[in-house]
């Protein structure tokens, strides 16, 4: 069960897991796509199914923000996290000839004026991450220029319409290789293996991380033995060569797959961060 359409990034994540999952569980798997309302329809569909562990939602941060803005939907406390599927850290990028050449120059400029950041829609995951970054780095509140997706953000970054882009390495891969954009910092806990010279935000004293994460969850009320079985089975299904090849080819971290403890902690952390940001931005009723 996913909120993405057939062929969307989250849909493909689910299908890649399903290559080896049937053998693991002795059960057939099918994908149900319920695309409306930024995850709202997917959550509603989940709530309409019995809590028996046979309906698994593949969720992202988007679902958490949708929950925050619509209290009638199942909330985070109504779900049991199972396992994380992907974690894709984001980077702070500037264009090649940007006057902001170093992280220090970026921070200085961001304190003097409001920088233009490219992200997805207002009140979305990128907006929350940019807000959290700006606050942790003591910048003036950044201006969000909203776009339809990562591709648009990269083009407008290179074209000089925005000052800074917050993007996954894969989204800007060809521009990074061509040297058209430069990474100033990565928003992960550790440096990325592909970019050993780029410091993390934490090294620069900015206590914020940003990543695109996806993972599985079931409804609360699912029996504990089934939850444990699903957690183990999903992790094993995502440890096979096909799934690892998928992570590698799409530039996502190979430590993506994690159990319910890590995944649950991450979800709670992001839920709180999202609540603070949306409240401060005046987007929460």
């Amino acid at each position: 069960m996913t909120h993405a359409g057939v062929g969307g990034g989250t849909d493909i994540t689910a299908r890649m897991m399903m290559v080896s999952a049937p053998a693991e569980f002795g059960q057939e798997f099918t994908v149900v796509n319920r695309t409306a309302g930024s995850g709202a329809q997917a959550l509603q569909y989940l709530a309409s199914r019995p809590a028996d562990g046979h309906t698994i939602i593949l969720m992202t941060q988007t679902h958490l923000l949708t929950m925050l803005r619509n209290r009638n939907l199942p909330q985070l406390s109504d779900l049991i996290p199972l396992a994380r599927a992907t974690e894709d850290p984001q980077m702070i990028l500037v264009r090649r000839d940007s006057p902001l050449r170093t992280p220090e120059e970026l921070l200085a400029a961001g304190r003097a004026r409001s920088l233009r950041f490219g992200g997805t829609h207002v009140g979305g995951v990128d907006h929350v991450a940019i807000f959290a970054f700006g606050r942790a780095a003591q910048l003036q509140q950044p201006t969000l220029v909203p776009f339809r997706g990562g591709g648009d953000i990269v083009i407008n970054l290179v074209g000089g319409n925005i000052d800074v882009g917050l993007l996954n390495p894969a989204e800007a891969e060809s521009q990074l290789r061509a040297g058209e954009v430069r990474p100033l910092m990565v928003m992960s806990e550790q440096r990325l293996s592909g970019f050993p010279n780029v410091p993390t935000g934490k090294e620069l004293g900015i206590n914020a991380t940003a990543a695109t994460v996806r993972g599985y969850a079931v409804l609360r009320g699912t029996p504990e033995d089934r939850v444990a079985r699903l957690e183990q089975g999903l992790i094993r299904a995502m440890s096979g060569p096909i799934y690892r090849g998928y992570l590698e080819n799409t530039g996502q971290s190979l430590d993506s797959v994690a159990g319910r403890e890590v995944w649950g902690r991450q979800l709670t952390g992001f839920y709180e961060e999202g609540r603070e940001a949306l409240t401060a931005l005046g987007l929460l009723r």
Binding site: G7, D11, A36, Q41, V145, G159, N161, S174, R177, T250
Partner: protein, 495 residues
């Protein structure tokens, strides 16, 4: 050069050619069925291509993409149900031709124009892809705003004969485009708490409803059956006379389609609509438009297939897909270990030219199939309405439900059908409504983005030469009829 010849070598590789042929047949088939689009098919085929090896895999997916775009025109012409949103402009004139008993002519012209547009764009892709790709960077929100405004400026002229009615229809389209979550405020508009509406109203259900279901209601309300169409006329395919008549439309469509396709934010649907506008603007037979003009089939069909080659430009040269379909093809490339980007042209020229060669082959395959099969497909227009339309209705429902698996879309399709029926009764054309729906969201969104970028200062547009040029062309297009009439008056007064 070596890479180029190496790439051409795939044309004699029977395995690759078989894949291209299979992809073409599959593409025409799914393209013609409303509800299964090329992008869905490519997404479903993707896992099967992993085992094929890069060249056959990409050639197979590319062939589906090329052929599906052509396939969409078949149902658009025969039963007024665009199999693919990009074929909606084709339905405007194509179905009118089928009603006049010229289904074969329309289908044949669609195949010819599609293939020329497709081949033109692939040739441009081979010669100028890296160069064209760089121009994508100079297109930001202000430039897209100017371009969308240019498209919208023709609303009064396309479609029905009455400019006022066209503007009313266009305004309705603009209104529908505002439904859903607003990008720049994060607020839902006109959704009334209905979840299905929060992502906006999709093109596919509106198009299917407006064209096919609306047509069915209209047929049902007519007292007499449509006049019997002579079989020999219906099966006639275009000859040299028609080709010569449409040559100009095809070149206009090919050029516009390639350029618009190369812009990452715009796709085949916009290309076809603007191609239709410009074909009409430069046509010597303007009076035929709206009554089944063969040029009105050739222009948009050339444009939407040229947009296929065009959309491969940012996908291959920048790694940025311009449409849902190219996004999945990009995923296919990455799974095969191919890293798109400017360096692709130096590092893997053989693979690249193999892809281009197979796209050329796919265009030729469906040209041959399209021309050959036009005679047989055209007979569908001879099926009595009482049998044909109930079958079309099934396709309408499945087609609206398919892409998002959502009943909400089916209700939208039914509502759009009623609107389409009332439109026909009151003498409105659906064309301006579609223009408003497709371009309306973009006009609003890009203007707001521009203003955020300019810090809420409209004078920021003055610093954007490309946008200014497009504004000037728009103004000239709007003022020219007035100016030319004034000139004529002045001359008459002097005489």
């Amino acid at each position: 050069m070596e890479g180029f010849l190496g790439g051409l070598a795939v044309l004699v590789d029977p395995y690759v050619m078989l894949m291209v042929l299979l992809g073409t047949v599959l593409g025409i088939f799914v393209g013609a069925l409303p509800g299964i689009s090329g992008s869905t098919t490519i997404a479903l085929m993707l896992p099967m291509t992993i085992a094929m090896g890069p060249v056959p895999a990409i050639c197979f997916l590319g062939a589906i993409y090329c052929a599906a775009n052509f396939g969409g025109s078949i149902t658009a012409i025969l039963v007024n149900a665009p199999g693919d949103p990009s074929a909606s402009a084709t339905a405007l004139e194509g179905f009118k031709m089928a009603e006049k008993g010229q289904a074969g002519l329309a289908l044949g012209m669609s195949a010819v124009a599609s293939a020329i547009g497709g081949i033109f764009s692939v040739v441009v892709l081979i010669v100028a892809a890296p160069l064209l790709a760089q121009s994508a960077y100079s297109f930001g929100p202000p430039e897209y705003f100017a371009l969308a405004l240019f498209g919208l400026s023709m609303c009064a002229a396309i479609g029905g004969d009455s400019a006022v009615k066209n503007l009313i229809a266009a305004a309705l389209g603009l209104l529908i485009a505002t439904v859903g979550m607003d990008l720049t405020t994060g607020v839902e508009r006109y959704a009334f708490g209905v979840m299905e509406l929060s992502d906006g109203i999709g093109f596919v259900p509106v198009l299917i409803g407006l064209f096919a279901f609306g047509e069915m209601l209209d047929q049902a309300a007519r007292r007499y059956g449509k006049p019997t169409i002579a079989f020999t006329d219906a099966a006639r395919v275009p000859g040299w006379a028609e080709m010569r008549k449409c040559a100009r439309s095809i070149w206009i469509g090919s050029g516009i389609g390639t350029f618009i396709g190369a812009l990452p934010a715009l796709g085949a649907t916009t290309a076809a609509l603007i191609g239709y506008n410009e074909t009409r603007r430069w046509s010597k037979h303007k009076h035929e438009f709206g009554h089944g003009s063969i040029e009105g089939v050739a222009g948009p069909e050339a444009a939407n297939n040229a947009a296929v080659g065009g959309s491969m430009v940012p996908t291959l040269a920048l790694g940025i897909p311009g449409s849902a379909t190219t996004a999945i093809i990009l995923a296919g490339l990455i799974v095969q270990g191919v890293r798109p980007g400017p360096h692709l042209f130096n590092e893997q020229p053989t693979l690249l030219y193999a892809v281009f060669a197979s796209m050329l082959a796919a265009n030729l395959f469906y040209l041959a199939m399209g021309l050959y099969m036009a005679r047989f497909f055209a007979r569908i227009s001879l099926i009595p309405s009482a049998f044909l339309w109930p079958a079309v209705f099934v396709l309408c429902v499945v087609g609206a439900y398919g892409p998002n698996q959502s009943m909400g879309d089916v209700y939208v399709m039914l509502a759009a059908g009623v609107v389409g029926f009332l439109f026909r009764r009151a003498g409105f054309s659906p064309a301006p409504l579609i223009m408003g729906l497709v371009l309306g969201g973009m006009v609003e969104e890009t203007l707001k983005q521009s203003l955020i970028i300019f810090g809420d200062d409209l004078s920021g547009f003055l610093g954007r030469p490309i946008a200014l040029l497009l504004f000037a062309v728009t103004a000239a297009g709007l003022l020219w009829p007035v100016a030319s009439r004034l000139l004529r008056f002045a001359r008459a007064a002097r005489a």
